[in-house]
């Protein structure tokens, strides 16, 4: 066959190479599937497992990343909150919003948010009683918002402070999490509500908030003064709303 191939045209050689590449790709897939099955069998063998500590750290990192991804998607399509003089304004970019074209409910909500803008967003009460806050020593920014109530069983598991975004992750033993993030709103805020199971507005304190529930994750976002606040969680809506309600300005 060696000689036959050598004497064949370039065209035939090219076909040979393509077939070989297809076979290699298929082989990698077949072997990979076998390895995945083998990996599943090893999941009960402690000799081949990550230490619980490392495993937890990785899961946290993945979860955090997924939350950010969901939030990015959440920000993707709909309106804009522009924070100037503590005014919330949701701008709709019809040209970019395929979701808007198919989601009358969401359109209505956005219109309501735009029309209901008033001065209440500037009326923020500051609390100086730090002891009423959860993990008050963690929240070190000037004019920072912090929760005053944490749902039962939750514990602080990570804090991410990069100078512009302050994110705190709380988790419980049932793998439920609540991530609370705050940052200065700079520019447009966009929400991806495509195929969302629930879209509604509610009040968090004096601010009107957008609540989107999608794929088992609830996202609540609202604005207070110059701060854009949002919560991402896989817990029950009521629990997350109660947590959101508890958030107050502490400095």
């Amino acid at each position: 066959m060696h000689n036959i191939i050598k004497n064949k045209s370039e065209y035939q050689n090219a076909i040979d190479e393509l077939v070989l590449k297809a076979a290699i790709s298929s082989l990698l897939e077949i072997e990979g599937n076998k390895l995945i099955e083998e990996n599943n069998r090893l999941k009960n063998d402690p000799r081949f497992q990550l230490s619980p500590e490392i495993d937890k750290k990785i899961k946290q990192a993945i979860r955090r990343s997924e939350s950010r991804y969901k939030f990015k998607k959440f920000r993707k399509v709909a309106g804009g909150i522009v924070s100037k003089v503590a005014v919330v304004f949701l701008a709709i970019f019809v040209g970019l919003t395929s979701t808007m074209a198919v989601s009358a409910d969401f359109r209505k909500i956005i219109y309501n948010l735009i029309l209901s803008y008033d001065e209440r967003y500037t009326q923020v009460e500051r609390s100086t009683e730090y002891k009423e806050f959860v993990d008050s020593d963690v929240y070190t920014w000037e004019h920072i918002f912090a929760p005053t109530m944490l749902p039962h069983g939750y514990k602080l598991t990570s804090v991410d402070d990069n100078g512009t975004i302050f994110a705190v992750l709380y988790e419980n033993a049932e793998n439920l999490y609540i991530e609370f993030t705050q940052h200065s709103s700079n520019g447009k805020f966009r929400a991806d509500t495509e195929n969302a199971q629930k879209i509604l507005t509610t009040f968090v304190g004096d601010s009107e908030a957008l609540v989107v529930e999608k794929d088992g994750v609830i996202i609540i976002t609202w604005q207070v003064g110059d701060f854009l606040l949002y919560i991402i969680s896989n817990d029950q809506t009521d629990t997350v709303l109660n947590f959101a309600e508890s958030i107050k300005l502490m400095r």
Binding site: I15, D16, V19, I24, L28, I30, I58, A61
Partner: protein, 188 residues
């Protein structure tokens, strides 16, 4: 330590892929490393080294399916483990090197290359190549699937890069022969 390195990956998609592979398939990675090194602690280090090595090849791994990525990652673990064996354990056992090798494959060419056209089923093509030695598969994967240069393959497989081309040609011919033979059997 490896976790810190993964978390430092700038590209979020790459970081997530590595986190996913490392956490979800750590078991099979360690098992493969242990199969060669026979030391649990060392196998753990091998996996970490392999992950760091994979990070250099993230752009090429992005297009892989999950099974392909797992397969590729396991191959990387194997090569790191074998490399470690060569440098630190060589002489204590012979079985390890049987993972690679088998360069003396018999040429079974019988049928004309046109019969490739009759091999339409993707899976059958892959199954046919299961007959190749691990060494041949490593060479072919790295060259044809990941598009590595001879020098890169040499570094990965601990070969002189000048020998890579010859070994690769042999491996490719063996692969083609297997495909041809398989097709001939199917047509018999």
């Amino acid at each position: 330590m490896v976790l810190s390195i993964i978390l430092a990956i700038e590209n979020e998609d790459d970081r997530n892929l590595m986190l996913y592979l490392y956490s979800e398939f750590y078991g099979i990675f360690k098992s493969k490393a242990y199969g060669i090194i026979k030391d649990y602690m060392m196998a753990e280090d091998i996996v970490q080294d392999a992950v760091i090595k994979m990070m250099d090849r993230m752009p090429k791994m992005r297009g892989l399916t999950k099974p392909q990525a797992v397969s590729y990652a396991c191959r990387t673990v194997n090569s790191v483990a074998i490399d470690y064996y060569r440098k630190h354990i060589r002489g204590t056992t012979k079985e390890v090197l049987s993972v690679s090798g088998n360069d003396e494959f018999t040429d079974t060419s019988q049928s004309p290359p046109e019969i490739y056209e009759r091999l339409e089923e993707y899976e059958k093509l892959g199954e046919a190549l299961l007959q190749l030695s691990e060494r041949d598969k490593d060479l072919i994967y790295n060259k044809y699937f990941l598009g590595l240069s001879d020098r890169e393959i040499g570094l990965l497989l601990e070969m002189e890069h000048t020998n890579v081309r010859v070994s690769l040609n042999r491996a490719r011919n063996r692969a083609k022969n297997i495909l041809t033979k398989m097709s001939g059997d199917n047509n018999a």
